[in-house]
C-alpha cells in the first residue's frame, strides 16, 4: 500500500489527493530538492544516496544526462556539456559574451533575443537546459514521495532581474511543473532557520558558494520578511580559497607556474581536499607527486591556511559593509547571521564573519542544503498543508523602474528597494494638440537620462481622443508581482482605452552590473542633475515654441501688425537658436524674454477670445 506521512491535526489528505510540494534550489554548481515529510523539512537523495545534483547537462546522440554522469563528459566533450547554465539564463548573447571567454559553447544566431547553444541534439536555450535539471529533481521527488507534485517553489538570487526570473519560471513550465512561487535564496535560508517565527528583527544572510558571494540584509516585521538590501561579488568563492592553497603548494614545492594543465587541476583538487580537512583538524599533510617522479611532502597548519585565505575572506566584508549602509543600518542592528554555501564550513570564515557582525553565525543546518530546506517549508505552506501559517514573504526590486518622458528623461515610478509585490500608478499627459497615441518606454536603472538606463520594453497606447496638449490624463500603472515580474499598463482616463505589456525575457544583468549601475548613478549624480535641468528647460522651450507657432497660425495676422509680428517672430527664432545650448540658464532666459515680448499678444488673444465667447450674449447669460 501507499506509504503515509504524519499530517497536522485535521489535515489528513483524502486518498490520492496528497498535497505534495517540494522546494528546489536551482544552483549554479549544484541543485537540490527538498520536501516536508511528517512536518520535517529534508532534502531528498537519489538512488545512490546523493543529495547534491551537479547542475551539469550533457547532450549526446542517444539522450540527455544530468548530474554526475554529465559532469564526467565535461572534459572529453565540453561543447555538449553545459555547466553553470544559471549564469546564462535570462540573458542576451552580448551579456553572456561579457562574462568572459570561460564559456566554450557554440552559440547559434548572434541576433536572437534568447541565445541558443549548439549541441549534437540541436540548439538548446539556457531555459531548456535548466528545465532538464528541474525534470531530474522532480522525478526524484515524485519517486520519493510516491505521487505527482502539486507545485514547486524555486529559489533565485535576490538580485535576479525580471528577465532572469521569467526565464526560470519558463524552465519550470517547459518541464511541466507548476511554480507556486519564486523565492529569494536569502529569504529561504532565513525561513529554514525559523527566523520568521522569531521576534521582529534584522538578519544578515551570508552566502559564500563555490564561485560567488552574496550578502542580503532581511528585516522581519510583524511576521513579514523584507529584503532591505543585497550585495556581493560575482567572482569570489570557495574556488578562490583553493587557488590560494594551490599557489602556496606550488611555491613550497617549487612547481613552476607554467606547469601543464593536468598538474594544475590535480593541485586544485589537493588544495580543495586540504581546505576541507582543515575544517576538522589543525594540521593536514599534503603529498604531491611531481613531474620528475619524486614526491613533495608538506604540512599545512590551520594557522598557515588562515593566513593564506584571510585576504580573500576579508574581501567579502566590503560588500557586507555596503549592504548595511544601503539598508541604513550598522552591525549592531543585526540579530542573526545565517551562513549559506559550502565555503562557510571553513572555520576562519565563521570567525571573521562573526567578528564583523558581532554575532555568532547560525551554522546548525547544512549550509549546502539550507536554501532548499527553506524553499520546501514555503512550498508546504503554499499548497495548504499548514493552513494556519501566515508567513508572507516580501522581496524588493533591485533597480528602479520607470518610463521615458519628453526630452529623454526617466520618470521613476517604482524606486529601487521597494518591497514587492507592489503596484504604483502615475498620471501623464499629451505634449501636442490632437495627439492620439503615446509611446510608453519602460526602463530600469538609477540614472536620469534614458540613454544611461536599461530598456525593458516599449509599447504604444493608441486611440487617445484628440484633445489640446495637456488635457489627456493617461494613467500608467506598474505592477511587480510576488515573483518579481513586471507588468505595465497605460490607460487614458476619459475614454478608457488601454494598452499593456508584460516584461518577458530579453536579457539580464549580473549583480556586478547592477552594482556598477548603482555606483554610476552616485558618481554621476551632479551631471545627471544638470542634464535633467537642461532637458527639462529644453522641453519647456519646445512647448512654448509649439504653442506660439500654433497661436500665430491661428490669429497672428488678425491681432498683430507687421512690426509687432516681426518682434514676436524674432524672439521666437532667438529661442529656437538657444534651444540646443548646453546651458539651461540661457534657455530659461530666452524663454522668459520671449514670454515678455509676447505679453501684449497674449493679452490681445485673451481679450479676443472673451469677446468671441460673449458676442451675441447678454451679460445676464454669464451670471
Amino acid at each position: 500500500m501507499a506509504l503515509l506521512q504524519l499530517s497536522e491535526p485535521g489535515q489528513s489528505a483524502a486518498p490520492h489527493q496528497h498535497r505534495l510540494a517540494v522546494g528546489i534550489d536551482l544552483g549554479t554548481t549544484n541543485s537540490l530538492v527538498a520536501t516536508v515529510r511528517s512536518g520535517k523539512a529534508v532534502t531528498l537523495a537519489d538512488s545512490e544516496g546523493e543529495h547534491l545534483l551537479p547542475s551539469v547537462v550533457h547532450y549526446a546522440e542517444d539522450g540527455v544526462v544530468v548530474g554526475r554522469k554529465a559532469w564526467a563528459h565535461s572534459a572529453s566533450d565540453p561543447m555538449n556539456t553545459i555547466i553553470s547554465v544559471k549564469r546564462l539564463i535570462g540573458r542576451g548573447l552580448s551579456d553572456i559574451k561579457s562574462l568572459g571567454s570561460s564559456l566554450p559553447y557554440n552559440f547559434q544566431d548572434a541576433e536572437a533575443v534568447v541565445p541558443r547553444i549548439k549541441t549534437v541534439r540541436g540548439a538548446v536555450s539556457p531555459i531548456e537546459v535548466s528545465s532538464e535539471i528541474l525534470k531530474v529533481l522532480v522525478k526524484r521527488a515524485e519517486e520519493s514521495l510516491g505521487g505527482e507534485l502539486e507545485g514547486i517553489v524555486i529559489t533565485v538570487p535576490a538580485y535576479f532581474d525580471d528577465a532572469q526570473r521569467q526565464a526560470t519560471k519558463d524552465a519550470a513550465t517547459i518541464a511541466g511543473l507548476k511554480v507556486l512561487r519564486l523565492l529569494n535564496e536569502p529569504t529561504a535560508a532565513a525561513v529554514a532557520y525559523g527566523l520568521d517565527s522569531k521576534a521582529d528583527g534584522v538578519h544578515a544572510i551570508y552566502d559564500l558558494g563555490g564561485g560567488t558571494f552574496d550578502i542580503s540584509i532581511l528585516r522581519l516585521n510583524r511576521g513579514v520578511f523584507e529584503v532591505l538590501s543585497t550585495g556581493g561579488d560575482s567572482a569570489l568563492g570557495g574556488d578562490d580559497l583553493d587557488h590560494a592553497v594551490a599557489e602556496w603548494i606550488m611555491q613550497q614545492a617549487g612547481i613552476s607556474r607554467d606547469a601543464d594543465h593536468s598538474m594544475l587541476r590535480r593541485l586544485l583538487q589537493i588544495a580543495c581536499a586540504a581546505k576541507e580537512a582543515l575544517s576538522e583538524t589543525d594540521h593536514v599533510q599534503i603529498d604531491v607527486s611531481l613531474a620528475d617522479g619524486t614526491t613533495w611532502q608538506g604540512d599545512l597548519s590551520r594557522d598557515q591556511f588562515n593566513t593564506l585565505v584571510d585576504p580573500l575572506i576579508r574581501k567579502t566584508l566590503a560588500p557586507c559593509r555596503r549592504a548595511l549602509r544601503d539598508a541604513g543600518l550598522s552591525t549592531e542592528d543585526i540579530e542573526d547571521v545565517v551562513m549559506v554555501g559550502g565555503s562557510t564550513r571553513v572555520p576562519r570564515v565563521r570567525e571573521l564573519v562573526g567578528e564583523f557582525f558581532k554575532a555568532d553565525p547560525l551554522v546548525t543546518i547544512d549550509p549546502d542544503r539550507v536554501v532548499a530546506i527553506g524553499a520546501a517549508i514555503q512550498a508546504d505552506i503554499l499548497v495548504g498543508n499548514k493552513p494556519d501559517s501566515e508567513m508572507l514573504l516580501l522581496d524588493v526590486n533591485p533597480l528602479s523602474l520607470g518610463i521615458e518622458t519628453m526630452g529623454g528623461l526617466v520618470e521613476k515610478i517604482i524606486p529601487r528597494n521597494t518591497t514587492i509585490p507592489v503596484a504604483r500608478a502615475q498620471e501623464f499627459t499629451t505634449f501636442k494638440d490632437g495627439q492620439t497615441a503615446m509611446a510608453v518606454h519602460v526602463l530600469q536603472g538609477e540614472r536620469e537620462l534614458v540613454t544611461d538606463n536599461r530598456s525593458l520594453a516599449r509599447f504604444e497606447l493608441r486611440g487617445i481622443p484628440p484633445m489640446v496638449a495637456g488635457a489627456a490624463r493617461i494613467r500608467v500603472t506598474f505592477s511587480v508581482d510576488a515573483d518579481g515580474l513586471l507588468s505595465v499598463e497605460a490607460e487614458e482616463q476619459s475614454s478608457g482605452v488601454k494598452a499593456s505589456v508584460e516584461v518577458k525575457p530579453s536579457y539580464g544583468l549580473t549583480d556586478g552590473e547592477i552594482e556598477s549601475m548603482l555606483k554610476e548613478s552616485i558618481d554621476h549624480a551632479q551631471d545627471d542633475m544638470e542634464a535633467r535641468k537642461l532637458r527639462e528647460q529644453q522641453v519647456e522651450a519646445e512647448r512654448v515654441i509649439e504653442a506660439l507657432k500654433a497661436a500665430l497660425a491661428d490669429d497672428g495676422s488678425e491681432l498683430l501688425n507687421t512690426e509687432e509680428r516681426d518682434r514676436v517672430e524674432s524672439a521666437l527664432s532667438n529661442l529656437a537658436a538657444t534651444i540646443n545650448s548646453d546651458s539651461h540658464a540661457k534657455i530659461k532666459a530666452a524663454v522668459e524674454s520671449l514670454e515678455k515680448s509676447c505679453e501684449f499678444y497674449v493679452e490681445r488673444r485673451m481679450n479676443a477670445s472673451v469677446r468671441r465667447a460673449m458676442s451675441g450674449h447678454s451679460v445676464d447669460d454669464f451670471e
Binding site: 500500500m1 501507499a2 506509504l3 504524519l6 486518498p15 511528517s38 538512488s47 519517486e143 520519493s144 510516491g146
Partner: protein
C-alpha cells in the same frame, strides 16, 4: 482490541514530534472516502478526546477514536522504505480488499 507500533515507526514518530516541538502523540483513524470506501488518518495529536483509546508503546502514545478502532483492531503501524519512497504503513488484518495503491480499503 489492540493497536501496535513497530520500533522503527516509533523512532520516526518520536523524531517528528521532537521536530514539531509539541503534541501528545499521534492519532490513527479511518474515515469514509476514497475509491474503495475507507481511508486512513495519520496525524499529530495535540490533545486526547474523552472517548479515545490510548495505546502506548516504544515511548509513543497512539490515540484512536472508538469508531475507528473497529476497523483498525489488530493493526500494526510500521515505517518502511520502498525505493526512494519512505513512510508509514498500516498492516491491517481487517482489510478485505483495497484499491490498487492500497490508500483506501474495505473491511
Amino acid at each position: 482490541m489492540t493497536i501496535t507500533i513497530t520500533e522503527a515507526a516509533a523512532k520516526h514518530v518520536r523524531n517528528y514530534l521532537d521536530n514539531r516541538g509539541s503534541g501528545v502523540g499521534i492519532r490513527l483513524g479511518v474515515r469514509t472516502s476514497g475509491c474503495s470506501g475507507m481511508a486512513y488518518v495519520l496525524e499529530f495529536a495535540d490533545a486526547s478526546e474523552a472517548d479515545d483509546q490510548i495505546f502506548e508503546q516504544h515511548g509513543v502514545k497512539v490515540l484512536v477514536d472508538p469508531k475507528s478502532l473497529l476497523y483498525l483492531d489488530g493493526t500494526e503501524l510500521d515505517y518502511t522504505r520502498e525505493g526512494l519512497n519512505e513512510g508509514f504503513k498500516f498492516n491491517n488484518p481487517n482489510v478485505k480488499d483495497a484499491c490498487g495503491c492500497g490508500e483506501s480499503f474495505n473491511v
